[in-house]
Symmetry: C2
Subunit: 402 residues, 2 copies
Amino acid sequence: MLKEVAGGITFPRGFKAAGVKAGIKKNGKEDVALIFSTVEANWAGRFTTNRFPAAPVIVSRAAMQNVSGRAVILNAGCANACTGDQGLADAKNTAKQVASLLDIAPEAVVVGSTGVIGVPLPMEKLSAGVRQAVAELSEFGGEKASQAIMTTDTFVKTCGYVTELGGVAVRFGGMAKGAGMICPNMATTLALITTDAAVAPEVLQAALTEAVDASFNRITVDGDMSTNDMLVVLANGMAANPQITSLEGPEYTEFAAALRAAALNLAKKVARDGEGATKFIEIEVKGAANDADARKAGMAIANSPLVKTAFFGQDPNWGRILCAAGYSGAELDPLKTTLAIGGVQIVDGGLGAKFEEKALRSVMAEREIKVVIDLGVGTAGTTIYTCDMSYEYIKINGEYTT
Amino acid sequence: MLKEVAGGITFPRGFKAAGVKAGIKKNGKEDVALIFSTVEANWAGRFTTNRFPAAPVIVSRAAMQNVSGRAVILNAGCANACTGDQGLADAKNTAKQVASLLDIAPEAVVVGSTGVIGVPLPMEKLSAGVRQAVAELSEFGGEKASQAIMTTDTFVKTCGYVTELGGVAVRFGGMAKGAGMICPNMATTLALITTDAAVAPEVLQAALTEAVDASFNRITVDGDMSTNDMLVVLANGMAANPQITSLEGPEYTEFAAALRAAALNLAKKVARDGEGATKFIEIEVKGAANDADARKAGMAIANSPLVKTAFFGQDPNWGRILCAAGYSGAELDPLKTTLAIGGVQIVDGGLGAKFEEKALRSVMAEREIKVVIDLGVGTAGTTIYTCDMSYEYIKINGEYTT
């Protein structure tokens, strides 16, 4: 029943958006995004667990104590993190301005920022951008809004899904940004999912938690968890399906599956567009003692600079993969561990299997590579998504100007 | 009383060494090192905690169940890790060959390897190298032995110290290798310290544990803990000082300080020579709630690819340093955190202080940079040593041939 379609955050009924150029990004591109639900929407969010949460994270976390709201205002080019009281006032004033122009309560506005840390928001520019964004709100504004949250991203990350809930067609749309400082934990990067499904707030939060755990918490680019990570979902009920009020039953299952699909779709795009990435790498961990161990092993492999550079160099240096699993802290049996890369069995019983070097070299030359490691101690497993590490990563981050 | 001098592992009395070319390294340089004490030496060791310990680690850990021994045989160019039963047999046979040629017990020989993981030891070449090394053992062989354990190291890492114990001059020598897969934990890279001090075995182990914790466990190049990490210390008593048999008293304090100085000297050289490094970075963490938190925060900063690339790019992007401390898991007070780079106060109370951009840019251009971060919650602290991450790191590890 779940079907992927073209379309982003304005694909679900009742959502408008805009993306405008406020001059905050140095390259002069769109940098302010506004998303608006024409009716009150139940909402849920997940935020960074970094001990230096950015000002917008603090303000939005407070706003989301309410179970519903109307608008999301986002900017790129400045993270408004490590900016103290001034930063908090700036985030609050942005929400107030949006609220006043849209004639809604300030607490009905979520604020998000991404960009350089430690620099104050250029409030005059942002304020002009907010006015323009409100004026340009439209049902066709999803694409522009998605462009406005890009930083070093090389492509726009959006998704759309339709499913049926209680016989009624329900739509989902999403957008996210990458592409560095990506290693969400109990949180995510800047991302937004909209749906016109009718869902009770506590059900929405439960489904979001489940979705984030299976998607954004399973990707990494560089192991750096941002100060600004935030994923927000708005459900405005305009599909007019019977409201989902329980975690039991086929409607919740279907809704949660759709939300998870949207989140995973965006998360994989973030991993694929990691800074300087030339390859998308899927690491499936099997045979783990428990879920936490599976994630630990997968993340250690995905975050290892030695593993990432070997993939960039197309060098089948598989010992680095075992080595990373070995120091991850996950329980494993060295004599039962197996490893396959792109379907080629490399390791069996903790040591090199007989395989065709040529077959492996050809797998390493692919742009998408699947690694399967079995830790040989249990039945738990997970999949982690990441990318390689290239000269371009160093260039981007050595030259990213403060 | 403690004094640094020129000299390596054959500087203490009664130690001979050799470094020979056995053809295991592809570049044809010295690749087999043998160190021999002319009298029985008490010994102590620390080994990798990786769940895939290399065969030599397993064999040496067993040998060091005895409190003393005579020889250490090391090779570069092949790690003998993930090599199964054959690898174990190869490591044992190497120890046996050394023992037989030197007329000592096989259990009196420690074996160590470094190089590519997953490839069997070329035993014919190694065996010929062992014979040659035994023939060439000399009191002047320390330098050649130190060269033989180099992999991607750009310079030889050795050290020498003299101190006085009970009125007797005692000597220390050391050698270590870097330069990638460096993030020891309760262990270290391949390193050896020799001394002619007379020390009881349990005292030696205690002093070594303390020294490693303050040195090799405080460095990182890329966050990757090797399968082959090993630090061994041999104390042969030839200085004829009154044997140290207790952890109390000025002799132990002096001995432990000398051992710590030797270990720290080598560890800092390993960090300084990190693969592709252009800068040596010292990260002092203060104001932490406890020692573990101080290490966590320092290591998160040192391992952050975004921090490392910013230093390479000489970009004063200090938000990345706070961000890494923020996700390290260490307790901190965002409103009391302070940060200084090269003596320039950057952050006060969790937000940007007024500083001269020019002064900071000039600090970032230095080859040695000191970062001081105060977490603002306690009195514990530590110092972590690391390096930046450059294009060269990607080149070395993208092209390191399996």
